[in-house]
């Protein structure tokens, strides 16, 4: 294992095929600790797939991804890669929180139980402590009064905030957001973005796939524009948004702004 790098995430020439379709064509990215990276791009550009590769929900066909200095999904022995056991992969995922476009809350559990399930069942946090922390997290996302509500009784924005609290309950070192506001009614987007902004300010390392240009301009330390499975352009949000160098980026920004 290498010395602890100052990068939380390091991706080197990551390639991925779906059948004969190459969706990631040698993606290389670094995310330093405590920084927020926003991934922009048209649908089908591979940004969500790349995000899902980081916590091994998708396997990669080429390159390497490491989080916190540890290779994801594989162990390197000598010059050979070995697939990890499911148990090892689960352990790695515990350090990486993920928030989905469609929330994916567990519908048979209340808001509180959604949050408590993983810390209590997987990390072995004592019940009382897990519940206490879950209540604090719900308070942090502004839902202290919806502790006993089932997901079906919550609005989309409230569900997404519970989902963020659920991911945070595992005390991850990295948070992945896969278009967290795309399935929300416009007036509910603000609450979710507020929670994410608050999280970024607290020093969480985050990778956010989003179409919220205003939000990424304000919160992102770095912005990456992807198209057709490659990184087209990257840099400070102001540079990428106000002074795009590539024609593809210019076209995209014109259509979304």
């Amino acid at each position: 294992m290498t010395q602890p790098s100052q990068n939380m995430v390091e991706a080197r020439s990551v390639r991925k095929w779906f059948g004969s379709n190459e969706v990631l064509k040698s993606i290389s990215l670094e995310v330093p600790r405590g920084q927020v990276l926003c991934l922009l791009g048209p649908s089908g550009s591979g940004k969500s797939t790349f995000l899902r590769c980081i916590n091994h929900l998708e396997t990669i066909d080429g390159g390497r991804i490491s989080v916190d200095g540890e290779l994801i999904g594989y162990t390197q022995r000598g010059d050979k890669l070995h697939e990890m056991k499911p148990k090892e992969i689960a352990r790695q995922r515990r350090g990486i929180g993920m928030v989905f476009q469609r929330f994916n809350l567990f519908p048979h559990l209340t808001a509180l139980d959604n949050i408590v399930e993983a810390p209590q069942g997987v990390s072995g946090v004592p019940k009382a402590q897990a519940r206490e922390r879950a209540v604090a997290l719900l308070e942090r996302v502004g839902l202290a009064d919806r502790v006993d509500a089932y997901p079906a009784q919550l609005s989309g924005g409230q569900q997404q905030r519970v989902a963020i609290a659920r991911a945070l309950a595992m005390e991850p070192k990295l948070m992945l957001f896969d278009e967290p506001t795309s399935a929300l009614d416009p007036e509910l987007v603000g609450d979710v973005l507020d929670v994410m902004r608050d999280l970024a300010t607290s020093g969480m390392t985050m990778i956010v796939v989003t179409h919220e240009i205003g939000f990424s301009r304000e919160v992102a330390d770095r912005m990456v524009f992807m198209d057709g499975g490659v990184v087209v352009e990257s840099g400070k949000p102001a540079d990428v948004l106000d002074n795009p160098q590539h024609e593809r980026t210019q076209l995209f920004l014109e259509s979304v702004l």
């Binding site: 515990r94 989905f100 469609r102 994916n104 567990f106 993983a118 069942g121 009784q153 989902a163």
Partner: protein, 321 residues
Amino acid sequence: MTDRVDFDDSDDVVAVPLRHPGRWIAAVAILLVLAALIHSLWTNTNIIHSSITEFLFDPRIIKGVGLTIFITVISMVIATILAIVLAVMRMSANPVLRAVSFGYIWFFRGTPLLVQIVFWGYLGLLYSQIAAGIPFTNIQFFAIDTNTLIPALVGGVIALSLNEAAYAAEIVRAGLLSIDHGQREAAYSLGMGPGYTLRRIVLPQAMKVIIPPMGNETISMLKNTSLLAVVAVAELYTAATQISAQNLRQVELLIVASAWYLFMTTVLSIPQYYLERRFGRGTARELPLTPFQQLKAAIARGRGRSNSRREVAQLQKGSLS
């Protein structure tokens, strides 16, 4: 604008209900047919009605009822556990497990239940002894006479369980398939392993799809226990036929047995209803009322005490807390 309806502050709708004369006509016609049928059975001199009441609570019948319930419950429990294992095997990434599960379901669904029961009943003819040892050698740890190890009752339970498991496996698989893949992904992303995800996230949600057809299967099982008559297990049907073999009142005893089967089926539907409610939590914004609560609401409505919607809302609130 002169015929304004009196309108007070509460905006509850108090309207004269629409009449449905067709329903009354249909109900009267059906009741007439039913009455004629019952009358013809009741006045049929070939049926000795006193023997129905005489044997309804006969100790042999009651024992048969007990045994029928016992076989049904034990077989369903074994079958359900086996079915979950088979369904998970069928969906696993391991090709050997998938093939074994497929083969099992193919075989046990493809041969008649009656044949399977007879086979287990006559296992003693095929293998006179059952022994544990190392295969293809003469080393033997112990050996037991087959008919001692597997008496008719055990053989019957094995046959019913193994057969039912094949059907139930497909029901469980349908339930597992009905759960959105996003649920598994969310569980994995939280660091849950595949086994934990299945147990705590996927199966509890699949239950609401699994329970209604499994209720069907339980009722089938209850009646299929009568097939054990062929291997002389003294369950309800066997008990009834043994009595009628002596007194030749076949129809009367079949009516006795049917009455008991109907009664047991009715009783079995109650736990199913409450199981469905239990696993339906969180899927609807409000839980449906239990029959008991519906009755209470209906009585309240009949008295005209309050409007039904408010009553329903109150009851639902009570049932959730």
